[in-house]
Each structure stands twice: as C-alpha cells, then as structure tokens.
C-alpha cells in the first residue's frame, strides 16, 4: 500500500514538475519593440509641441490629474475624483495618496500646484499654455486637495488637463526632463540612443496596477519601406501608426500580423484664406467643396483608408456628426454656385502644398476636380514645417493650402483671431462661447454639434477626411489602442499571449 502510494506520488510530482517546466517554456514575452516614424525632440511634453514626445512618454512615464482613455473619455488618474461648482468656476480635486515620482519624491497637492503654475507662468514655454488660460489661480488646500479657480467657465478644461502638456512633473527634475524624464507612470526612463531608440523599463514602485511588460523600446524609423521591412524581419513588434497605406494589404494577407484600422483626431482639410478674393464669398467656397470627391482623395492618398468628413470634427471626437451630405459631391451644382458668385468662367489660384506625400497627392486630385468646374489651381510646393509655417500660418500669404490638424476637439481654431484662415463669423464665435459656458456634458456636446453644422455650411476650409490610424502588430500582442483620440502609444495595458 505504501509503495503504491509512493509511486502515485512520484508520478504526480513528475507530472507537476513537467507542468511547471512546460509553463515556464510558454511564459509570455515581457518586452516590446514599437516602431515610430518620428523621433521625439526631447522627452518633456510640457516644453515642446511635437506629438512624438507624447507618443513615447504620455501615460507610460508621465501621468496627469486625469487621463483620456482609448475611447476618448475623461478618466481619473492622479486625481481620484473631483467636484465642479455649479457656476463652473471652481474645480476641487481629491488627489491620490501614496504616489511617488520615479526619483522617490512624493506627489501631492503642492507638486500639482507647482506643475500648473509653471504652465501659466509669464515666461512659460508650454506649447498649449493657451488651453489653460481660464485658470485664474491654483491653491493647495492640504496635501491631497487641489483647488482651481477659473476666470470664466471652460467646459473642456478637464479634457485639456488629461493632455500630455499638463502631465504632473517633479519640481527638481524640471530642467532635465527633456533628456532624463521623471514622472509617476508605470514605466521609467532607461536609455535614449539618439537617432535610434528610447528604452523605458517597468517602474517597480508604481502606485497602480503593475504593467505586464517589463521593457518597452521605441524605435525610430522614418522611411515607410524600412518600417515594413523591420516588421517583416522581426526587428520591431508593432507599428501603431504605419505611414504607408499602400503597403497595408501586404500585411492584411499575412497571418503573422494583425492589421487594425482605427481613427485619429486628425482632420485633413484644405484651408482657404477667407480674407482674400474669391474665397471671401461663401458661394465660391461651397462650389469648391461640391467639386471635390472626398472618397477619391482618400483612395488616392490613403489606399481607401480614412473617413470622409463634412466639418472640422473627426469620428474619434465626442459629439461627432457625419455632415458630408451638407455639401456633397455635385459638380453641376458647383458650377451653378460659381456662376451665381460671378465666376461663370472660373478663376485661377495657387495652392501652397506642404511637402508631405498625403498633401501632394491630394492636391493633384483636387486640381483635376477643380478643372472640371473651370477653376485652375496652380500647385506650389512648400517645405514643411519651416517654410509652410512662415508663409501660410504666420504671414497668411496664401490662397489655399492643405494640412492635417492633429489636435482633438480643435474646432475652436475657427474662432481664433488671428488664425491662418482669416475667418470671422460671429455666429460661430458665439457657438464656441456656448461650449465653454456649458455646465453639463449634454450642453457641451450639443454646443459642439451646433458649431460643426455652422462650419459644414460655411466651409472656411474644405473638409476632406479624418486620417486613419493604421496599426500593424505581431499576432499575440494585445492591448494596443485601435483609435487615437489623443496622439499616444499608451502601452500600460499591453501584453503578449501565453
């Protein structure tokens, strides 16, 4: 009996140890190599605008009071909850306890106040400073209560506080964050091989749920062909924003990869100088819109990937409405509108096109469509960003241009004075004030919808399409974002299959 029991025990332990060994062999990978087109210039999102900075450090290394999740919703982060006064002028944040920065210093209401005051300071170089201008004062009531007093209501403020530009920083790291960033996130900075890659490793003192990855490498490969080659050869595991749509079908056919087409907050539009003739006439703008087949542009520039838009909102923005039917493709109607505006034989103008593939291709298609209603468009290439920013954006010395606007909820640019559209519409300006004054989410959303409708009819810019987010990664990788409501490569929930 005893020997019998012993043999059972032996079999059982052998089986168990085999099981352990077996599972050890099948242990999932805990590292990730992620490809990006553009290397960030510095790693401090509070000091420079390029989206590539946030795409490395936002959520992974730096965190904010609140965050924007993968569906574009505002979620608590370093603030556990908050209270907004009924007049919309006082925000009281209840901050999380026991949070430390990666250099060991504590996070509390004083550091939060320091971060926000720094954004608002006179000599601040925060690229998004203007989004937070409604904040009049910041007060730390005690270690975990922060109070913001606003000079006027700003319904979007909470959303902006979730942005890369408003991440919480540790005061003593302020001057070194660009090269040696310190945040409160689940990953900490390890190494930056300039021109090549940034490595983040797990922050073992993280206050929240530990990430499943132990190491994330962001590799920078500018050339789309080289990106595709690196994916196929195994040099990188994932590309969240693949820049060559024409190569996508090659990956869709390949079982080793998963191809995910989502949306981004980037609207590609053909902005017009509304102060210049003939674009100061709404009928001309409408005619040009109706002469343009948006889908043809998407087909030519993005291999058919992307969503046609009828106003300055993308499907990833809250309150998006499909307004492409407001001024649909109708060349006959377009000709008629042109004749009404006094241009029965068309006119000639120049488009300043940034030297980016999507813009160059789109401009050629538009040239063909415009010629069908008798309008001659000359194409002038403009080096982006430097020359374009100077000519179009700063000097507004242009007729029409084409560009992608990447920031979410950025419809307010049409109310800005000055802005490169030279657009001025009191109705629209009032709509934006209404959005700011909204005290409920419903009011805010319907305010945005009203604003979208005004633009869809008034077309200060030709609304073309929302850029797709083309994600390609190896099979077995989970938790990557499908859509990009905020430009981000948040890998905090990413893991490999077992």
């Amino acid at each position: 009996m005893t020997s019998h029991f012993r043999s059972i025990l032996t079999v059982a332990t052998t089986a168990l140890s085999l099981l352990v060994v077996g599972s050890a062999v099948a242990a999932p990978r805990t590292d990730l190599v992620l490809g990006m087109s553009i290397e960030p210039s510095g790693l401090d999102p509070t000091a420079a605008a390029p989206v590539a900075i946030g795409q490395v450090v936002w959520q992974n290394l730096f965190e904010g009071l609140v965050t924007i999740d993968k569906d574009g919703n505002i979620e608590p982060e370093l603030a556990e909850n908050w209270d907004i006064s009924t007049d919309g002028l006082t925000y009281t944040f209840d901050l999380r306890d026991n949070v430390t920065f990666q250099n060991g210093k504590p996070f509390n209401a004083q550091t939060a106040k320091y971060t926000l005051d720094r954004i608002l300071a006179e000599d601040s170089v925060n690229p998004q400073k203007s989004l937070y201008k409604s904040i009049e004062s910041v007060k730390a009531l005690d270690t975990d209560t922060l109070v913001l007093t606003l000079s006027k209501p700003s319904a979007d403020l909470l959303y902006w506080l979730g942005f890369p530009a408003a991440v919480m920083i540790e005061p003593s790291s302020e001057t070194t964050n660009a090269t040696d960033p310190v945040g409160t996130g689940p990953f900490k900075f390890s190494e930056w091989k300039k021109g090549n890659q940034v490595t983040l490793v797990e922050n073992t003192n993280y206050w929240g749920k530990a990430p499943k990855l132990e190491q994330v490498v962001f590799r920078f490969i500018g050339d789309p062909q080289a990106q595709a080659a690196a994916l196929i050869s195994g040099g990188i595991d994932a590309i969240p924003e693949f820049t060559a749509p024409e190569l996508v079908s090659q990956f869709e056919k390949n079982n080793a990869f998963e191809t995910v087409i989502g949306t981004t907050g980037m609207e590609v539009i053909a902005g017009m100088n509304n102060a210049r003739k003939p674009f100061n006439d709404v009928r001309v703008r409408q005619a040009l819109m109706m002469a343009t087949d948006r889908q043809a542009i998407i087909d030519a520039t993005n291999a058919g990937l992307g969503t046609p838009i009828g106003s300055h909102f993308s499907p990833s923005d809250a309150g998006y409405e499909d307004l492409t039917t407001a001024l649909p493709y109708d060349p006959a109607k377009a000709k008629q509108l042109l004749a009404e505006a006094g241009y029965p034989n068309g006119f000639t103008f120049t488009m300043k096109v940034p030297n980016r593939t999507y813009a160059e291709r789109a401009s050629e298609i538009m040239q063909a469509y415009f010629s069908m209603i008798g309008v001659t468009m000359k194409i002038e290439t403009s080096e982006f960003p430097a020359k374009w920013v100077q000519d179009v954006f700063k000097d507004t010395n242009y007729d029409m241009t084409i560009i992608g606007h990447a920031e979410p909820l950025d419809i307010g640019i049409y109310a800005r004075d000055p802005y490169y559209f030279n657009y001025d519409n009191p109705d629209f300006n009032k709509a934006m004030v209404d959005v700011s004054n909204a005290t409920t989410e419903q009011e805010r959303v319907s305010g945005y919808q009203h604003a979208q409708k005004i633009l869809a009819q008034d077309v200060p810019a030709l609304f073309l399409y929302a850029r797709p987010k083309i994600g390609i990664w190896k099979q077995g990788l989970n938790g990557m974002w499908r859509n990009g409501p905020v430009p981000s490569n948040d890998v905090t929930d990413v893991f490999w299959n077992e």
Partner: protein, 314 residues
C-alpha cells in the same frame, strides 16, 4: 614644412569664411526654431519666452561671435530640440558615419583599382566591357536606390543582413559591422563606378608615355611594366578623384543613412534641418566643411609622396 604651415593658415582662414557664410545662410533660411518646437497652437507670448530662452532675440553679430568663441573653447552649444550638447551629438553620430564612409571608400578602391587596371590592360576585352557596364550603371543609379534594392534582395528575401537600424558598437564588433555592410556597399558602388573609369583612363594614358616604352624596350615584361611603372603613376589622378569624392561620399551618406535608419551624421543633419535646429546644422555643416578641406589638404600632401617631381617644383 613652410608649405604645410602656409596651407594650415589658409585652411583656418577658409574655415572662418565658411563659418560666416553658413551662419548667414542659416539666418536667411525661413522658419523660426521656436515656432517649430512649440507647434501651431502656441501663443505669441509663449513663442517670445522661448526665443528669449534660446537666445534667438540677440543681434546677428552677437550670436555669431558667441558661436565662434564657443568653438574656440570647444563648446559647440546645446541642440534646441534634443537639449543635449551638440559636441556630444556629433561625437555619438561619428561612431556610425566615420566607419561607414571609411568602409565605403575602402570598398570602392578595392573594387575600382583592380577592375580599372584589368580593363585598361586589354581594352575592349571581356573585363573592359564588364567594367564599362558596371561604371555606367553605377554612375546612373543613385545610392539610396541601390540601398533599397539591397534591402529587398539580401535582407528581406534571404535574411542575410539586418534591414536597417544600428545595434551600436557596444553590441560587439561583428553585429555593428554586419549592420554597416549593406549601407557601405550602397555607398561604395557609385564611387567605385567613377573610380573605375578614372583608373582605366589613367592607366591607358600612362601606358602610352615615353618612359613606359623605354622600360618595355629595356626588357620589362608587360606585367612588370604595368605594376612597377604604370600603376604607381596612375595613382595621382585616382587619389585626386578619391579626395574629391569624399564630399560626394558624405552627401551620399545622408541619404543612405536615412534608407537604412542608421543614427549617423546624415540623419542628424537631415532631422536638424527639418526641425530648424540651427545650432546643430551650423556645427554639422562646418564639421563637414572642415573634413572635406582637411582631406584636400592631405591629398595635396600625398602628391609629393607619390610623385617626387612635385617636391622639386615647390
């Protein structure tokens, strides 16, 4: 000795002029670095704050003088975008570009000199026809395109080489060399094509010289005449061409590094230009200028080694 000292003084004066011209061009190039760093939504006062912080609001001559004084002290300043010292950036990138260009130059000599000499030995022979075809294609096809073909063929189809990127020398000598293999071939081929032609022409020209006829008349075998009398004399145009081509090599490296995603000087210059990181561009361009001029200087000095007659003339 006096000749060398004179050349050095000339070199320094030229560099000074070049530095001024670079600074002047950078001044004229449209695009405000502050605007590029802060993006399109930055408010005017934020831009002004950053311009002050970067020292962009100082007058032209003050900024130029600052740069020169810094250069003399070995301080090249800090990159606007990377927030790191430019000297450190250039130093890091040189560990890629220097081996890449040296390897390419070496490869091109190893290909072109034997090929050119053999082609000249039997004009219109098989080797000559091959050399002519090679140099025509090599000159016509740009090096970044050769790079793409190499990636498609040797890296993707056969998986013999990495498709790009650089593991760094700390990953070991062989992995780093492996990563540089295809880019250096891509860079070497156009240069080898030009050098093959130059070698062939030089060898043929010298073969018809009197002293070669004399040597042959005195009983030198064809191969003795070729390797002892003709090739050494043909080295002058080859070395001259090689020296002149260094600038072509550097320009080619900019494109090839981009195709192979190599973190070298070329990628640095390319990025810095796009981002208007003026301080990086001006230092990189001056550095390239100094390299090209130093090589021309060395080539001049090499003449006297290769051809004793030139020593007497000076």
């Amino acid at each position: 000795m006096r000749y060398i000292a004179q050349s050095l003084v000339g070199l320094i004066i030229t560099l000074l002029v070049v530095s001024f011209v670079i600074f002047l061009i950078m001044e004229a190039v449209p695009g405000d670095p502050a605007e590029i760093i802060l993006g399109m939504s930055a408010a005017p006062d934020t831009l002004e704050a950053l311009r002050n912080q970067l020292g962009l609001n100082q007058p032209f001559l003050v900024r130029y003088a600052d740069w020169l004084i810094g250069l003399l002290r070995g301080d090249l300043g800090d990159s606007y975008t990377y927030s790191t010292s430019v000297a450190q950036l250039i130093g890091e990138r040189l560990t890629v570009t220097l081996p890449l260009t040296c390897l390419a130059a070496l490869l091109s000599v190893l290909i072109s000199v034997p090929l050119g000499v053999l082609a000249a030995a039997r004009p219109n022979g098989v080797v000559d026809m091959f050399a002519s075809l090679f140099s025509q294609i090599g000159i016509a096809v740009p090096n970044f395109w050769i790079g793409l073909l190499l990636i498609l063929g040797l890296a993707l189809t056969f998986d013999w080489f990495p498709v790009g990127g650089f593991p760094g020398w700390e990953a070991g000598f062989w992995p780093a060399l492996h990563a540089l293999a295809l880019p250096s071939v891509a860079l070497a081929i156009p240069q080898a094509a030009v050098l093959t032609r130059v070698t062939r022409a030089a060898v043929i020209e010298i073969t018809n010289e009197d002293f070669v006829r004399t040597a042959r008349a005195k009983g030198a075998t064809p191969s003795h005449a070729l390797w002892r009398h003709i090739v050494p004399n043909a080295m002058i145009p080859i070395v001259t061409m090689l020296g002149m081509q260094i600038s072509v090599l550097i320009a080619g490296a900019v494109l090839v590094e981009n195709v192979f995603a190599l973190p070298g000087m070329g990628t640095l210059a390319y990025q810095a230009l796009a981002q208007r990181d003026l301080i990086v561009i001006q230092n990189v361009v001056l550095f390239f200028a100094a390299i090209v001029m130093s090589i021309n200087f060395l080539v001049d000095a090499l003449y006297t080694v290769l051809d004793p007659r030139l020593r007497v003339r000076r």
